[in-house]
Amino acid sequence: LAHGGGGRAMAQLIDELFMAAFDNPALRKGNDQAVVEPPPGRLVVATDSHVVSPLFFPGGNIGSLAVHGTINDVAMCGARPLALTAGFILEEGYPLADLRRIVESMSEAASAAGVSVVTGDTKVVERGKGDGVFINTTGIGVVPPGLELSGDRARPGDHVLVSGPIGDHGVAIMSLRESLGFEAPITSDSAALHELVAAMLDEVPQVRCLRDPTRGGVAATLNELSRQSGVGIVIREEALPIREAVDAACELLGLDPLYVANEGKLLAICPPDASERLLAVMRAHPLGSDAALIGEVIEDSHGFVQMETAFGGTRNVDWIAGEQLPRIC
């Protein structure tokens, strides 16, 4: 891949690779923008820049991740995603074959999700100025009338649910990056959750809020929600779904799986009388088959997120500044 301005080489790359892969009517027009006819409802926009190392991992690559991540951000307010944009920043010298694989899986992810990439942009930076490939995606979507999902709506008594086992993505990335070679390879959970969300909201429109626990994991997301809503949250360690392999890897690495990133999971908070139905709908969907009720919202002016441990104690699930730092003196 050669670094260059807006010349013919770039046009050729765009034509041959991106246009072919993302082919759709809007893109085919060849304009610098896409015109989208929105259905009735309120418009939702979300943007996310994706940087991941390594670019390829079990369960996906940066391309599929860029599609799933942004679709999920759009979907978490209950919106149906309509279209995506994609901006690529490529490093000079990056192998074209690898780029092709990324773009193709991106296109597959988009079409599997039923969402088109309607416009895009590509820049190539000098060697050493990037890390292979960075992708920014922006998604737009529409929230049906009547749905009011927001992180500040959790109320004491509400139940907290998670759509499946936690920590898969972060552990998959880490074990690959550090070539730790666990017995059983761990696969990223990267997935688009909008259909699961649609099924959940169809059945239980009373859901208070949804959020995907990506960077910082379930811990960071629960702390965001408790802070936004001015409540406390108590979860039960024994209720947390977690794969044995992920648990084992976390134990070895000294990581708390609550702080490990997910890319295909959501946390839902709903009124207590709706949680049973919500759980049933989630479990009926392939992306929520291991969904679990993990805790509840309580009144707490401190906004503590607490976990009842398997040993019968209670410990805080702190909102940490960054990585998990040693603190035992």
Partner: protein
């Protein structure tokens, strides 16, 4: 009245006494003393302490002044006595207690004190009206801090407010000549609190005699929750292995040693070896848990109480209730002689704080949180207003070292080298305490605990508020640790913002050392060695074996550190010494030997991989982790069941083995610091654990001494402060201090404030005080 002797011209003195002189029976003492010395005058409380005027012949006055200092009541602590001549009052007759002078009287709250001998005499005297009354007390003993909600210290602001005194009690309370003059918790069976025995669900048990029923249950192996001064204890028969095992299961405390309570020093000596100073500590009015050298028979006598530990925590009774339980078990003997007997039971006495949460203090809370733990609860209706864990003390080089400050000690201040604006310091994360300064007095709070749960974090908030209330101080500055994720730091930041006052973030090991500077009044530049677990370093790395140049103005420079070891898995490595041993092998270049070295650990292969790639392996200069590495290499302990267990077991082995010469080839010194890799390599070849442990301790002490001596010489310093969690290791510290002192250095260690993280708040406060000026 005054018989003025011909040989001594009458004089009059105005005297001010500062320190803990209020609420401890000081004025009646002064009156008594004045009468016996045949001097006239008056005494009263005022904002600064006690002021008095005395008039009499020169020799009487001299005798009075000497006795004033030397015979003060047991709970008084005189800090200063200032006397000035003043004009004679020729017509004055007798000595009077005057009402307190107007204005703000800062009647201080004193720490709780163990029941005194005079009260004990009454307690066991069938003819006394308070015979077997569990709430007997007087001006010289009993609860104070734990039942007081605010200032000034007066019955209405204590949990005794709901018990109006009967005429007989009131008469004692108002009689300046009585031992119970102004004893705020004064009570008797007529008017005071009473006991109740509850079943595990909180229902009152219909028993004829509560004390007898309680002792019966203890004797039959039951676990009882018993309300003490600052919280509930769980008690069981320490000689009953089943009961102890049941307590361990219920408390989910598999190996951590329990403390025991025995009725007297003689009984204690059957369990531990006591030096004279230790006897004194054990029987002090603060009645701490004393950690003392365990006799070898104890593991057989009291199986499962403190397995494998070189120490046993022993405590004497401190409330009348504790005494009455032993009294009951002894068959209700008369007098005090029976307390020196040795046939009494030994009871495990552990704080009732389920799940690492704060101590239970409230009756209903006790029923809710202790059901399932206790078979029955012995409660009473005198509320505990301030939670206070037992204090823990040990003796090192003939001096007391407080490892935990709590009941009996809080709120005694530590005097700072100088005063300044009030500072609030919020301490660390584990073993948290806070510190509030007022003038040149630093008040360290009682033990708050580990801030890893919401209840303890809330207890920290309460402690901060309560300390401000009882000291009537509003801070001008807040100090905290530099770790980004501590609740204590978040609280400090919040309070600083709320009160719009500066926030000073103090490096962990700097704070450890500053605490030593503070309590020893050390000003000016000096050296400091932090021998610690892990604390957040200024470069973002976990520090813990640090040589700092302290500038005496609240700053420091890092002169050197122990050569860092990887910490595979972060805090997990602090709980699993085998990981540190693997880290040591990796650092020795023997990474490939890790899986074979730990055949019993299925994760050894994975750990070798982590070490090879450096994944989740921050590097730490911690000395505590070096101990863990040694314990892991010598296969002393693979996984610690409680904090510091591996190092304690290692110390126990070294002590048992006896001293060996240090191996001079065990360390190297370079620009950066001290590298013990040769010693670690030697341990891998050591086939005998006891010898290995002894060699490790001796070589460590020699290496550290070498390092510190050279640094001291280079810096032209003679003074070294040493602090940090590893100072609890007596085998190493004794050796190290001897070497340093032999080399002409003055060594300063934590004594009043704990050397561990419980002392951080004092250090933070002192650093802040030094920097805010």
């Amino acid at each position: 009245m005054n018989a003025v002797s011909r040989h001594s011209v009458p004089k009059r003195l105005a005297v001010r006494v500062c320190g803990r002189v209020q609420g401890v029976g000081f004025r009646p003492f002064v009156k008594c003393l004045a009468d016996s010395c045949n001097v006239s005058g008056w005494v009263r409380n005022d904002a600064g302490g006690v002021s008095l005027e005395v008039q009499g012949g020169g020799s009487q006055l001299a005798r009075f002044m000497v006795a004033l200092r030397e015979q003060a009541p047991p709970l008084a602590r005189i800090e200063a006595v200032v006397e000035n001549p003043c004009p004679l009052q020729p017509r004055e007759r007798g000595f009077r207690i005057r009402p307190s002078s107007g204005g703000a009287v800062a009647t201080e709250i004193t720490p709780d004190a163990a029941v005194c001998d005079a009260c004990l005499e009454e307690l066991f005297d069938p003819a006394d009206r308070r015979y077997r009354y569990p709430f007997i007390n007087c001006t010289h003993c009993g609860p104070r801090y734990t039942l007081t909600s605010g200032l000034p210290y007066d019955r209405v602001r204590t949990s005794m407010a709901k018990f109006p005194q009967c005429p007989r009690c009131l008469a004692e309370y108002e009689d300046a000549g009585d031992r119970r003059y102004h004893a705020q918790p004064n009570a008797c069976p007529e008017c005071g609190p009473s006991l109740q025995l509850l079943d595990g669900d909180g229902h009152p048990l219909p028993v004829g005699d509560v004390l007898a029923a309680t002792v019966d249950r203890l004797t039959s192996g039951q676990i009882l929750a018993i309300k003490g001064l600052g919280g509930f204890h769980l008690l069981c028969d320490a000689g009953n292995p089943e009961a102890v095992a049941r307590l361990r299961t219920r408390k989910r405390r598999s190996e951590k040693p329990f403390a025991v309570m025995v009725p007297g020093i003689e009984a204690a000596e059957r369990l531990v070896r006591l030096a004279p100073g230790e006897r004194h500590l054990l029987a002090g009015v603060d009645r701490p848990i004393l950690l003392a050298g365990k006799r070898p028979t104890v593991d057989r006598q009291l199986p499962g109480v403190a397995p494998g530990m070189p120490w046993l925590g022993v405590m004497l009774p401190y409330t009348p209730l504790h005494y009455l339980l032993f009294h009951e078990a002894a068959g209700r003997p008369m007098g005090l002689a029976w307390l020196s007997g040795t046939g009494q039971p030994v009871w495990v006495c552990t704080s009732a704080n389920p799940g690492g949460e704060p101590l239970v203090t409230d009756n209903q809370d006790a029923v809710r949180r202790l059901s399932g733990l206790a078979d029955a609860l012995l409660v009473h209706d005198r509320d505990i207003l301030v939670r206070c864990d037992d204090s823990v003390v040990r003796q090192a080089e003939g001096r007391a070292v407080y490892l935990r400050r709590g009941r009996g000690v809080t709120p005694s201040p530590i005097r700072l080298p100088r005063g300044g604006p009030p500072v609030l310091a919020t301490g660390g994360h584990l073993k948290n305490t806070v510190c509030l300064t007022r003038g040149d007095q630093a008040y360290i709070s009682q033990h708050v605990g580990d801030l890893d749960n919401a209840a303890t974090c809330r207890a920290l908030d309460d402690t901060v508020a309560h300390l401000q209330r009882v000291l009537a101080v509003r801070p001008d500055c807040v100090a905290c640790d530099r770790h980004p994720d501590f609740y204590s730091s978040a609280l400090a930041a919040r309070l600083a913002a709320e009160w719009a006052i500066p926030l000073v973030r103090v490096q962990h090991h700097h704070a450890h050392l500053a605490a030593v500077q503070a309590e020893h009044g050390l000003e000016g530049p000096m050296l400091g060695a932090a021998l610690d677990g892990v604390g957040f370093g200024d470069n973002g790395e976990p520090w813990g074996g640090e040589l700092l140049a302290l500038d005496g103005r609240g700053g420091f420079r890092r002169l050197g550190f122990l050569r860092p070891l990887p910490l595979p898995g972060g805090d997990r490595a602090a709980r699993e010494p085998w990981r540190m041993a693997a880290a040591a092998l990796h650092e020795l270049g023997w990474g490939e030997r890790i899986p074979a070295w730990f055949p019993e650990h299925p994760r050894a292969q994975g750990l070798a991989g982590m070490l090879a790639t450096g994944t989740r392996c921050p590097r730490t200069s911690s000395l505590g982790r070096l101990f863990d590495a040694a314990a892991g290499l010598l296969k002393v302990k693979a996984v610690s069941r409680f904090e510091g267990q591996a190092a304690m077991l290692l110390e126990g082995l070294a002590a048992e083995h006896g001293a060996v010469p240090a191996w001079e080839g065990g360390w190297t010194l370079d620009q950066e610091g001290l590298d013990f890799r040769p010693l670690l390599a030697e341990l891998t070849r050591s086939s005998e654990r006891g010898f290995g442990a002894a060699l490790f301790h001796a070589t460590l002490a020699a290496g550290l001494a070498d390092w510190l001596c050279r640094a001291a010489e280079k810096a032209g310093q003679k003074r070294v402060a040493i602090a940090g969690g590893c100072c609890a290791n007596q085998v190493m510290m004794r050796d190290l201090c001897m070497r340093l002192e032999h080399a002409g250095l003055s060594v300063y260690q934590a004594r009043q404030a704990p050397p561990n993280d419980a002392g951080l708040s004092l250090g933070q406060a002192w650093v802040a005080l030094q920097t805010v000026r």
